[in-house]
Amino acid sequence: MSATHDHPHADPHAHHPEHHVPSTYYEKLTTALMELLVEKKLFKAEDVQGAIERMEERRPERGARMVAKAWVDPAFKQRMLEDGSAAMRELGMEPGDMLLTVMENTPQVHNVIVCTLCSCYPRMLMGPPPAWYKSRPYRARVVREPRAVLAEFGLQLPEGVTIRVHDSSADLRYLVLPMRPTGTERWSEERLAALVTRDSMVGVAVARMP
């Protein structure tokens, strides 16, 4: 930055809102607590960094891998429907204490997940939930008018299809196993996984068509 242009407007970040918003009470509290715990040697700053990195590794791609495997391997699908957490471990993914319950979509039944009380979501498999999943309108409306809500996501289900809404009100976490798109008969697991979107595993969409 030259001396002649030395005023805030020359800084491309100057108008970024975050630069002008002071930390909130809870942000300050969180930072202070973390610094104190590090100072007291309960854990190291690197441990915090490591935990953040592990959190960021949890992305919907992990769920997509599991769905694609279920599409090509009926025995695995059966085990996954019986015990989702054990199926995760089989693929080398750590569910922690999450009790993963898999709900299979069929031509007759479509499943959709919500947490009407807060934002419970299979984070160990999919990462943090999208903003709409945590929003009050989604949480309140998907139980009251599931068909209207799904239609707003672009999903029009035939009248004859039963919608099962699963409210994650206690200890279980849910994953929807979407139906395998037709025309993918000889596809590899990897190619199939690319068709499995986050929204299809929440149940507000179906898998991508090839």
Partner: protein, 90 residues
């Protein structure tokens, strides 16, 4: 009181204060036990740092139109996880 899968149950219409994981919309409504999930710490105690109060957790399936008759969605269902002390025979 314990229930078996397939049994009809009603969610107690009670309104205690504190941390409760039984959705308001299900209270007083009846449904069918979809499965017995297992024994878990009661969240109403866990929320206040008291563990060890194990309760049986059930998945109960309700007809959407029984719960929301003003916006009925025929044949559609709502499954909710509910602890034993919130359920009674219906």
């Amino acid at each position: 009181m314990s229930f078996a899968a397939g049994e009809r149950v009603r969610v107690r219409a009670m309104f205690p204060l504190g941390h409760v994981r039984t959705p308001f919309y299900a209270r007083g409504k009846s449904g069918i036990v979809e499965r017995v999930v297992g024994r878990f710490d009661n969240p109403e105690q866990l929320a206040y740092g008291r563990s060890g109060d194990k309760k049986t957790l059930y998945r109960v399936r309700f007809e959407q139109s029984d719960i929301f008759p003003e916006t009925p969605s025929a044949h559609d269902t709502i499954d909710i996880e509910i602890f034993e002390h919130w359920l009674e025979k219906a």
